[in-house]
Symmetry: D3
Subunit: 293 residues, 6 copies
């Protein structure tokens, strides 16, 4: 169960309205790596988890915090839009070229659909979608996904930081940056702990018997481009991170197979298959033509 407290986790009030920036903030609210994504991702990981205890506590606790981050961003967006002009015909717009200049940069649906409010979309207006989240039941894979989400998210917030000089907005971003720092560290620590405990290891999933994979190519770097410098990387020689092998470098594939013959499905699929018949038909057509001539 979830409970709401009518307070925010951090102050979230801008110095002044900025409808263009209100659109940009949508990215970290409702984008691929926005707060809705991490909130939903952690909650679904909890509901799909197969072990009780600390890891489940972890995802539930952080998941609930992230819904509160959605709330802070939505609240900020509504305030940034509070004095948004309705459109190009407003006097304010026509008198001030700066205001006019930014008209194009606003999210039209924040105005027309939400009445100067936040929406569950990204900065280009794409609705948030359930396919952004990852909850596989394999915790090492999922904590890796979580660390990635917090890294991408912090990169985006850092970029947004430089796109405004509003102190109120920057304060909120500085809080989100700090929480992203925490969460990056947290997921990496949790992933390391899983490996330390032997609950899961590399390669993920570690319980799949590696003898069943085609081990000849398990540690081969195969170069399908014509650059040569990839051979210098630590992925082209030396021990592998999973501790099970040695990287080797190969210029191109080490295996190949002829393409199977094209398939010939049931004729009632009406694919183009009967070139033999075609030849016969052509012969007949030629005869017809001859007769006519």
């Amino acid at each position: 169960m979830f409970f709401h407290r009518q307070e925010l986790q951090f102050k979230s009030t801008p110095d002044q309205p900025d409808a263009v920036y209100a659109r940009k903030l949508q990215e970290v609210l409702g984008g691929q790596y926005g707060e809705i994504t991490v909130a939903m991702q952690y909650m679904f990981q909890g509901w799909n988890m197969h072990t009780p205890g600390k890891y489940r506590d972890l995802v539930f606790g952080v998941g609930a915090e992230e819904v509160g981050h959605v709330e802070m961003l939505a609240t900020m967006i509504a305030q940034l839009l509070e004095k948004a002009p309705l459109g190009i015909t407003d006097d304010a717009v026509q008198d001030d070229p700066t205001v006019a200049a930014v008209i194009g940069g606003t999210d039209i649906q924040q105005a027309i659909v939400a009445g100067a409010g936040a929406r569950a979309v990204d900065s280009m207006g794409n609705p948030w979608q359930g396919s952004y989240i990852t909850a596989s039941g394999n915790l090492l894979a999922d904590f890796q996904a979580n660390a990635n989400a917090e890294m991408q998210g912090r990169v985006q917030v850092a970029r947004l930081y430089h796109m405004t000089d509003d102190h109120g907005v920057r304060d909120l971003l500085s809080f989100l940056l700090a929480r992203d720092t925490m969460h990056q560290n947290m997921w990496l620590a949790a992933a390391a702990e899983l490996r330390e405990e032997g609950a899961e290891d590399l390669p993920v999933p570690s319980n799949f018997p590696q003898g069943k994979e085609h081990t000849e190519v398990s540690y081969q770097y195969l170069n399908f481009s014509d650059g040569q410098t990839a051979a210098e990387g630590s992925w082209a020689q030396g021990p592998t991170p999973d501790g099970h092998g040695e990287f080797t470098y190969h210029d191109g594939p080490t295996t190949s197979a002829p393409m199977p013959s094209p398939t010939r499905p049931d004729a009632r699929f009406y694919g183009t298959t009967d070139l033999p018949n075609a030849v016969e038909k052509l012969a007949g057509r030629a005869q017809d033509k001859l007769k006519r001539e």
Copy 2:
């Protein structure tokens, strides 16, 4: 530029047709973590990359290999569908309850739209989409995303391995499992190398001046659920993976702020705002009512 060679990287022919399995394979072809995703993700990372040399070679080389994996899966799917029955009215279906039983499990569009062929969709028929990929320009974040993609992918292939006993299919899967093993190791090695070289570090992005984040909460575990065992994890005490701090544990938020007042945008947005007017109106209405009575 890209060049095609009419060979496959590995043999890819099933023992026998299996239209239900042909649908399942779509997941690792066109799903969130399928081969189209990694192919496109690595190529876009190359095109957006800001450094020449080994890292760019790396993403170009592996990206091209992954397009070949799409090809192997598409080829396999077409073969699994080669003798697919057209529908419930076929004699084969009516005579064999087993065949009948699986009718429901097929991808209808593989039949009706592709004529017994593969499609750029996942196992539930959702079209592949560009929002599955990650290419931020920050390589440590992106290599983390790549490692995650290869982990999720290997988990899915491992699950698929147990959903068939066709030797031809399992051979192909054993090859893909091995390449996923390589690629997991490779991206983790590359990420480590980036940190080793000092090109990027934790927290990502490491060049953002941490003094600008709200450092009080940068290493605090804040528990928003009522479980107590999360306090036992390595994310609740001890040094942080980025080497800059110490984790601390807190039961609930350490900061809070009152909610800002509701916004009052321009009246021409016709949001519900004017309760004061409402009171006046009600007064008037009451008077009208009195008069009528």
Copy 3:
């Protein structure tokens, strides 16, 4: 801020596994009118609301409850999938035609992607999306949307009730049905209260000066089909619910206007526009032909 308590609002354990039903339940978890929709819809209405007090309390309180409903359904789904067979090759499946029969009806991604868990999708596998929600800032419109969502939702749960005879599942559904009953009544009461208080009225938005609309057609029923019985309805005569007019019935449109001339945009859009030139060209071509003859 949101807080999580590791209890469910109601018992949510099935008598036995049922992977086909686990797919069906996704509809009321992640479909157009599922619990994610109402949770997000009420929360966004709260964040976009322009008045403090009872209405904002209302959407926040019910929004938080609905996240808990998502949790109950996700928990139930994971349990229904707990003993799901991996696929057609399992002995259990091959021995039992009933099990075989339902193979086709399962959600493949619940297995391959979530590892026998719930997903943020509907029963056909479409990801939940932000465009399902409604939060316009106009409360009378939005409470109407909420009442609709609870009605559609209750219709769907009632249908699902008859698609299983598992007591555990039915218990959960009976709880959700009751809450939908409450919420239908609640939103209708809230909508009535808004009108009673004069905060908003029909037609929505009631503050838009009706004199600016083309009032001749504001209460006309215009029949664009050839049925005649629509004339019998209360929408074709008598007073209108907004109390401002009288319905009238008209067989077909009461206004019409000629289509404007086709547009002729800049030639550099390369639309097909220059039929005059075409005529000239044709004339030239005819002359050429004459010369050749």
Copy 4:
């Protein structure tokens, strides 16, 4: 069957071109609550309807009218775009900062894809989609959905009205506002008539035996937020709109259940489940370490 007449229902010609506004109008053409939505929604309700007569006449008649509204908006949009500049390099643009200012606000695909024409998308470029519509077969629920659609639509048109001062555009909007007024009233009248006739009632679906729902919570307001003013509403005390109960107010849930144990699906899903094994492994690892030391 549908027939087209080459006239418009109302005059639809702007005073002058306005490419930015052409984009905004897309919202009420192809958005969530645009004219395509209501046209398709009413037609599908007709095709799925289970009763002949006045209600079916109603949805067919209004559905056909709404396709004509799509037509008026598409026609208007094409005209607003007729003299749209091709881009920033045009002299017209470079000479006139006002024109330059709006460049950013145009729909790029109206230019590049449609050649200065309308598209089946909303104002942010999201394609119209079939999941916007509602046609459940339950008429009381569906008429509620229809009333909501007409309310949201009228709110949006009212907002758009203030974003232009073009007389031609405003004329068209005044017509659409009037029709939305009619249609709001019409659907509310139809919903009332359904209840009056006893065909359907609250709670929807009214034929589901209410004894099968968990009636203890059918009329309880449960407060999951910490605000106290929701207790003042008509949804927290007094008779319920369905006439079957009395609202009561409760601060928090009145029921609860422990979370079920985590699920433990088949090991071949490779979820993280075997912490027991993990313990054994760790013991072994500790022994190995001891031996090495």
Copy 5:
């Protein structure tokens, strides 16, 4: 304006219910090349058209017919679903393995969401979307798109024809096949007429001055795969269909250019760019290490 007549264009009643087939028919109702697509495509072409007269009449006339085809399919689907069992618990299902066998093949949302009715989706449940349609303003391109849509559509209907032996369904399909035959022929005739009249020609758009294209490669077949038989085609030698050139065959590209240097955007995007700094950092780190040793 559009008007509805409560008749169908052709009889549309099945011999008996078939819920699995009802799902398959969704493809040609709401799929990429279904009837909604062609209806909307032709109508938008009409609204975006720049010439009055026969071509505009054509798209309006056929567009209206296609809405009627949507209606016939939706009507048929509702009938196929009329006696659909609710689910696996029904006696009918448990007694009849054949019925059980097809459970998996039904569209769950036709049942749960539409109450045994049609939906605006394809056969895998993907909602119809506005991005399926093509209306560029260039008529030769668009009529080519139309011919393609009618060809793909007829292929799909032909496949569906063999997936049932219900006479009522086959009657409807035979009607749709005939209309697709007509429409294929019609669009090809219209495209030829456009060229004949000189309104548009190959290459589309024909008014773009070909001197501005890089004419060296305008008629070169460039082989980027290693097969050799493409050289035998009529696209590798002889005159080109546009009448302006001669095809030539080349094994591989005839032009190439070095890749530009990687971009180095503003440092505040936090991409991984500063490897020079990295080198310095590494030097410092090496010194530190030396000191420590």
Copy 6:
């Protein structure tokens, strides 16, 4: 298998940065008819093809070339963005109204998500999706789809040509225009060759026995609009392109059927069906009312 060469097919460097144009170019990279579409479409046609030899060589060869076109566009976009300002607060922006003017026209995600790089989306930010492609297994239909894609693509590139005067960009576009010219010609030649060889013919699919279609309407032009000029077209009289019939013109439908009775599905779907019961209920209600009075 696919191999990458670190060269471009043509020079792809702009004279100067232009962030607004970088957004526009996304259309031909990741839009409905962009280079990702044709690359994927041709490759899937190859994998689904049922004949070896020249046609398969053709789609593989051209498919690989098109991936290289994606690469050229992505490379160009990154360069156009290289010096993109971060946002409105930059000095550069505030000092130069021209720069300010275009702020609104940029793709926010190119900045925030990709760090000044290309994305797999169109010019309005919609992610590329697998449903854009066509690969039916019927080659005549598919080559028609290919010709259409190259026509729409060339129209879009031609429009883009006039939206910039940057020589570097125009050079790249002139190359793409030339290749589109080639590919239009190529697909039309290939389609003609298929017909010439008798492999496939009109109407597609030509192997479906035309006797099974409702031949009465196979060549009738049915006018569902009220314009009369469509009767003048070559589609309304004369021989049909498939050589099998004669067009005839009809004002309106030549067939019709009464609408079937509304369906009455199982009562447990809770659709609104039981108006008979309703009548009884009303009678009862009237009696109750009488008693009360």
